[in-house]
């Protein structure tokens, strides 16, 4: 067995009593669970959207994430790790499963008519060159393994420190760092192949 050097005390995230009290209530109180959804919907939605690049798919997957969280909430334990990390983990698994099932459909869609891709919520939808950059980047990202996609998205797109990424992915900090390095190189190769 390998000891993981991660503990709540090493994280910047706070796991306050109020949040844990909300989690406890949400096991039995629909209103409390709705509050969890409202607090985290934007962060989780943003993460999912930056992974899948489609507004409608994001809505569906965000619903799946919180439904999965609802089902798993009775087994959620306070181990000093904030609820947000737990939700990011569920979101990562949800997106990865969706990506695995839709890999070829996604690639074909981007290769084809970009106007149908649902990317109208991009930062600057009126700028064709920016749109092309985003789509090229996304296509390269999608061609990576799920582990590489996940670690890149959590760290670079969501801005989570490696310690927090390690908590979300359930692995060691060292593993996250090495995986990030390999993922960057893999992404670089894919970007070069597409030029």
């Amino acid at each position: 067995m390998t000891e993981l050097p991660i503990s709540a005390s090493t994280l910047n995230w706070t796991c306050d009593d109020a949040e844990q009290e909300l989690v406890a209530r949400a096991r039995h109180d629909a209103g409390a669970f709705a509050e969890i959804y409202r607090r985290h919907a934007h962060a989780i939605g943003g993460y999912v959207y930056r992974r899948v690049g489609d507004v409608h798919t994001t809505d569906d997957l965000v619903a799946d994430v919180f439904l999965a969280a609802m089902r798993a909430l009775p087994r959620y334990r306070n181990r000093g790790v904030p609820l947000r990390a737990w939700l990011y983990r569920i979101a990562t698994n949800t997106v990865n499963r969706w990506a695995g099932r839709n890999k070829w459909r996604r690639l074909v869609r981007l290769e084809g008519n970009l106007a149908d891709s649902g990317l109208d919520a991009a930062a600057d939808a009126d700028d064709p060159s920016l749109r092309a950059d985003v789509n090229a980047a996304r296509q390269a990202l999608w061609s990576l393994s799920m582990k590489h996609q996940s670690v890149l998205a959590l760290h670079y797109l969501e801005g989570l420190p490696v310690e927090e990424v390690a908590v979300v992915l359930g692995c060691r900090v060292g593993t996250v760092k090495s995986r990030l390095s390999r993922a960057r190189e893999a992404l670089r190769t894919k970007l070069q192949e597409r030029r």
Binding site: T2, E3, G46, Y49, F66, R79
Partner: protein, 302 residues
């Protein structure tokens, strides 16, 4: 981090620039969650009750082994009791559960399972004349009380469980009901002598697959001389109780916190008896034999 003009950073910057402009919180999603919440809480209560009852009585047993040393029941065989048919109201129901043994060799226990909005309570009792009686109570959702049906399983005895044994649904007066319920008692593989375990040693938990479907799972320990524990993972299913794989730990597992499938890997998060958190992975969850599984485990001190 590489330079500002690095192609990787440029690509990541462009993706990061995409801001989520969806409706959050989304009213439709929130309503969907609230609807599902009430469904799940109802199921959850039933599931916990079922888990508790089954954990108390565990799973068992063709012939109940009563160990001479220590006087503890040992699991000698896995069997599944299954009811297939229609309830008195004509609704389809399928109930999968485990037969429960007691120390004197009779079976007694109950489980509550929800099926199509119905609460089904089942008990297995040994009658005075040595025959076994299965009782099924069906409480229709929204209806007061409920109907109780007696399911006779006289062709099956505790020590001679026969796969596929069937019986007709009986009404309260002992008359066969027009709507029959088939009771199947399926024998699984016998437990090897060196892997016999008491019912209290079996850990009951659930596992969520890649499609979000929950499955019952049991962790059956096999202590080893060097102090390491090997747990065989069994998936609850009619009949055979397929082996999902095997995992090793340094200390006995006290509680499973979560179990889910991640990219083809079955991940089990648990705590050990000495308080440590462990993350256990079975990389080939469909392996039939634990000896062939490619299992790995690691400990997370989180």
């Amino acid at each position: 981090m590489l330079g500002k003009n690095d192609s990787v950073d440029s690509a990541l910057d462009s993706l990061r620039s995409e801001s989520w402009t969806g409706n959050t919180p989304n009213r439709a999603i929130e309503e969907k969650l609230m609807t599902e919440f009430h469904v799940q809480r109802t199921k959850g209560g039933i599931r916990r009750y079922r888990t508790l009852l089954i954990a108390l009585a565990a799973v068992l047993v063709g012939s109940v082994g009563f160990a001479a040393a220590g006087g503890t029941d040992l699991i000698t065989q896995w069997v599944t009791v299954r009811i297939v048919g229609t309830s008195g109201s004509g609704d389809d129901m399928t109930v999968d559960l485990m037969l429960t043994p007691v120390e004197d060799g009779t079976a007694s226990g109950s489980a509550v399972i929800q099926s199509d909005g119905k609460n089904l309570a089942l008990s297995v009792e040994q009658t005075d004349d040595g025959q076994k009686s299965l009782s099924v109570s069906i409480d229709a959702a929204g209806a007061e009380g409920g109907s109780t049906y007696e399911v006779s399983a006289n062709t099956v005895t505790l020590t001679e469980l026969k796969p596929g044994a069937a019986s007709k649904l009986m009404d309260a007066a002992g008359r066969p009901d027009a709507e029959t319920v088939k009771v199947e008692i399926e024998s699984g593989a016998a437990v090897p002598a060196d892997q016999l375990q008491g019912r209290d040693d079996v850990i009951e938990t659930e596992w969520q697959d890649g499609d979000g479907v929950w499955h019952g799972m049991k962790l059956v320990p096999s202590p080893r001389a060097n102090g390491r524990m090997i747990y065989t993972l069994l998936r609850e299913a009619p009949g055979a109780l397929p082996v999902l794989g095997a995992i090793q730990t340094n200390a006995a597992i006290a509680e499973v916190l979560d179990a889910y499938e991640d990219d083809g890997t079955l991940v089990v998060e648990a705590t050990t008896a000495d308080g440590a958190d462990v993350v256990l992975e079975v990389t080939q969850p469909n392996t039939r034999s634990p000896a062939k599984s490619n299992a790995a485990s690691r400990t997370a001190d989180r």
